[in-house]
Symmetry: C2
Subunit: 502 residues, 2 copies
Amino acid sequence: MLISICRAVVTCLPLLWLASVTDGVPDPAKRELLMREETFRQTGGGVALTAAEQKLDAHLRGLKEKEMAAAQFPPAMHFFKAKPLIQKSPIFKLLQQMPKGGALHVHSSSLVSVEWLVKNVTYRPHCYICFTWDNSVRFLFSDRQPFPRWDCFYWQLLETLRAKIGDAAGFDNSLIQHLTLVTVDPDGEYPSQDVVWEKFEKVFIATAGLITHAPVLREYLYKGLAELHLDNVMYLELRSGLSRTYELDGTVHDKAWILKTFQEVTKKFKAGHPDFLGARIIISVHRALEVPAVKAAVKEAIQLQKEFPDVVAGFDLVGREDSGRNLWYFREALSLPADLGVTLPYFFHAGETDSEGTDVDQNILDALLFNTTRIGHGYALAHHPLAKEMSRKRNVAVELCPISNQVLKLVSDLRNHPAAVLMSEGHPMVISSDDPSLFGTTGLSYDFYEAFVGIGGLKANLGTLKELSVNSIRYSSLPAHLKEAGYAMWKRKWDAFISAHS
Amino acid sequence: MLISICRAVVTCLPLLWLASVTDGVPDPAKRELLMREETFRQTGGGVALTAAEQKLDAHLRGLKEKEMAAAQFPPAMHFFKAKPLIQKSPIFKLLQQMPKGGALHVHSSSLVSVEWLVKNVTYRPHCYICFTWDNSVRFLFSDRQPFPRWDCFYWQLLETLRAKIGDAAGFDNSLIQHLTLVTVDPDGEYPSQDVVWEKFEKVFIATAGLITHAPVLREYLYKGLAELHLDNVMYLELRSGLSRTYELDGTVHDKAWILKTFQEVTKKFKAGHPDFLGARIIISVHRALEVPAVKAAVKEAIQLQKEFPDVVAGFDLVGREDSGRNLWYFREALSLPADLGVTLPYFFHAGETDSEGTDVDQNILDALLFNTTRIGHGYALAHHPLAKEMSRKRNVAVELCPISNQVLKLVSDLRNHPAAVLMSEGHPMVISSDDPSLFGTTGLSYDFYEAFVGIGGLKANLGTLKELSVNSIRYSSLPAHLKEAGYAMWKRKWDAFISAHS
Ligand SMILES: [Zn+2]
Ligand SMILES: [Zn+2]
C-alpha cells in the first residue's frame, strides 16, 4: 500500500449528525466533530501529518489566509493576468520545491516551453518558415528549398528573414505569439470557447514542423523531462499521436522509431538524474477521424504496446469534445481489444465541457463503460452522480488541469471549478498541466497552486497536497513494483522537503 | 402528499453499474438504463409526465437545443447583457405562462420594479430628495421642509427640482440608476464583489425613504403581489426587517402596524385575485448587529409571531455574509427560542460565498445545527458533503437565486453554478429572485430561465420545472392544510397551462 488512508471514521459516525439536532446552542464538541468529519472526507483529509508537517501546514494556512484577503486573488483572475502574482506568492515558491510526483496528463506538442523553441530551435540552420493565408506559420527543416504546399507557398530561410527584419527580439516575440495562447488581453482576444479552440488548433499545427524534426524531437523530449524535473516532478505520462518525424533530407520515421527514441531519451535522462522515475506514452488519435481510422489506430496501439510494453501505457482520443465525435460513436473501434481478447488500457478525455446533458456530456459514462483507467479532465463529472459513484468505486482518477480549463473558457473564477465538489468528497484525483507551453507554464506548480489555493480553498491543507502528489503515482499506469519503487523515491524527497521547510 | 415521487429505482438498481463492465461494446440496453437511472436522480427526474406534458417537453427540448447552439448563450453572459436575449426567448415566454408556485426568497426593499418607484412614487406631492456627499440619494415625504441630517444637508422638493432641470426623462433615468444595480457595463462598473456589494447597500438605503412612507408602503406591497401574480406566481414569503414606517407629519408606526398593514394588503389582494394563495413575512435583521441586539430581535420575533401567526413565518439574518458576523457568533441569540421553550422557525441565509473553508463558509453547517427550515442560497453547499447529506435527509430546501449569485459576482457563467450538482442529485430546492428590483427583474421567470436553461442544461426537462414549482409549496412555511389547498390551486393552473401549450 502506498499510503494507508483510514476512511473508517466516515462509517463509524454515520448517525452523528442525526443526533446533533438539539435544543439550545448546539453542543460545541459535536459541532467540532462534524466539522472534523467533513474535513476528513476531503482529498487528503485522512492523511495523518507528522509534527513537522503540521508546522508547515500551519504556516501554509497563514499564507493562504493572507492571499485570500488580498485585493487581487489569483485563482479568481485569468491565469495570464494572475501569473505574475502567482510567481510572487510564497505558497507557489513552496509548491515549486515540493515533490509533486508525476504529470499524468500532458500532450507531447506542448511539453516544452516556447521560449526554448523560438530562442533555440528556430535559430538552427536549415530552418524554413512560411506564413499561411490565415495568418498562421509553418516551420520546416530542410537541406534544400522546400516545395510550396497547399497551405504554404513561399518558404523563407529563417536565418535570412531574421537578418532582413533586423529587430530579432521583436520578431521572436511575434513567433512566440504564434506558438502559445498567452496574451495580455485574454478576454478581448478570446471572446468565446470557439475562438480560443481555433487558436489552440492553429498553434498545434504551427509547432508541428519544429518538433517533428528528428534531431529536434530528441532534444525536445529531453528538455521536457528536464523542465519537469526542475519543478520537482519525477514522472511523466505523455499523450502523443506519434506523428511522423522527418530528417533534413525528407526521409521520415515511423511510430516505432519515435517510441524507441522516447525510450532512449528517457533512459539517458534517468542516467543523468537518478531521482527521476521515468516516462511513458499514451498513444492518442484525434476524435475527428472516422471509425475505420480509429479502428486501425487501436489495432496499431495494441501492436506497439506489445513491442514497447515499458513505454506504451495505453490509448486515448484527443481534440475538442464539444465539436468532435463522442466515444459511443467509436464503440466498434473501442471494443476491438476486448473482441481480440487483448488488453489496451484507456485514458479517455471525457466531460471537458460546459454543455450539460448533450451527447458530449455522455462521454463520461461511456469512458467508464469502456473501462477507462483514468478520466482526462472529467470537468462534468460532478454533475453526474451515477458516473461519479462508478468512478469512485472503481478507483478511476480524474486528471484535473485547472489552468487548461480556465484558459479554454470552461470556467473563469477557479473557485467555481466543479472539482471543488470532488475534492470535498475525496474523489480520486491527480493534478496535471495538459498543455503547459500553450498556457505559459512549466512543470506542475502553477496547476497545483490553482488547485490548492483556488479550488481547494482554505480547507485544502498539506494533507491534500500530500495525497494529490502520491495519487500521481498511485493512479499512474506503472506496474505495481514500479509504483512501490516510485513511492519510496517520492517519500525520500517528501521527507527532505518537509525537513527543509519546517 | 403533494406529488408522490418514487425514488425506489435508485435503491433497486444499486449494483447495476457494477455488472455493466463488460468486454466488447457495452450492452446498449444497460447503457440506456444507466442513463435513465442518472436522469431519474435529478430534480424532477422521478416526475411522471402525461402524454400532453411529454409533448410540451419535447418542444421545450428542441427550443433549448437551439438556444444552446446559438452564438450567444444567455446563461453564459452577465444577466444585464443577457436580459434582452432572454426576453426574446420562446422558452422564457413559456416560463412566464407557467404557474411557478411561490417566491420564497425575496427581500422587501427590492420587491417592486424601480420604474414604478420613480415614475409613480417620486411624482407624488411632498416628496423631497437630497444628494449625499458620496453620490447617493435620500428621499423623504414630509409636509414641511425636512431638517438637515448627518448624511444629508440640503433637501429639495422633487417637484421643484424636476421642473428646474427640465429633462424629466433624463433625470428620472438618473434616479433609476440610484435605485438598481442595472448597468450596460457590469464588468467595468463592478470589478469586484466588494464594489458591487457597496452599491448594493447604497441602493437599499436610497430606496428606504420612499417605501417606508406609510401610504406608499401599502401600495408598494400591493404592487409587489400584483407583479408576482402577473408572472404566474401565487404565493410569497417576504424577508423584511419591518423598518419603521412614517407619515407625512413625521409620526412613525411600529412593527405590529406593518404586519397588520401587510395582512390587510394581502387580504385585499386575495379578494381581488382568488387564484392567489397568500403571503407571509420572514422577519430579518442585519448580521452587522451585536449579540444583544440580535437577542432582542429574536425575542421580538417570537412575540410578533404569537400576535400574527398567519403572517410571521420565522426569522433570518441578512446582509453580506463575507463581511458580516457568522451564525455561530450569534449562537446565544439563536438558541433563545429553545431556551424559552418556544418555536421560531429559521430561514437562514447561509453559504452565499466563494470563500471555501472560512468561518463564513461554516454558516451552512451552523444553519443546519440551528435547525433551519430552509437555506438561503446555500451556494457553498455542494462543497460540503456532510452538510449536504444533513440538508437532504432533513428535507431542508435550498433557495436558489441564480441571477442574484451572478450579479453579486459569485459566478459568471451560470453553467458553472454549483447548484448544477445539487440539481443532478435531486436535492431539495426552490427557485427565487432575492432582490428582483435591483437586478431589473420581476417575478420568477428570469430566474427559472437561468436555472432551467443554464444550470440544468439539456438534462433539465419539464419534470424539473414541475418539481421546482411544486417544491415552492412543499417547502413553504405554510401549515399542512394550506399546502394542500395551495397544491390543489397550483394543480388546476398547471393543468390549464399544459392544455394551453400542448
Ligand atoms: Zn488534454
Ligand atoms: Zn437574500
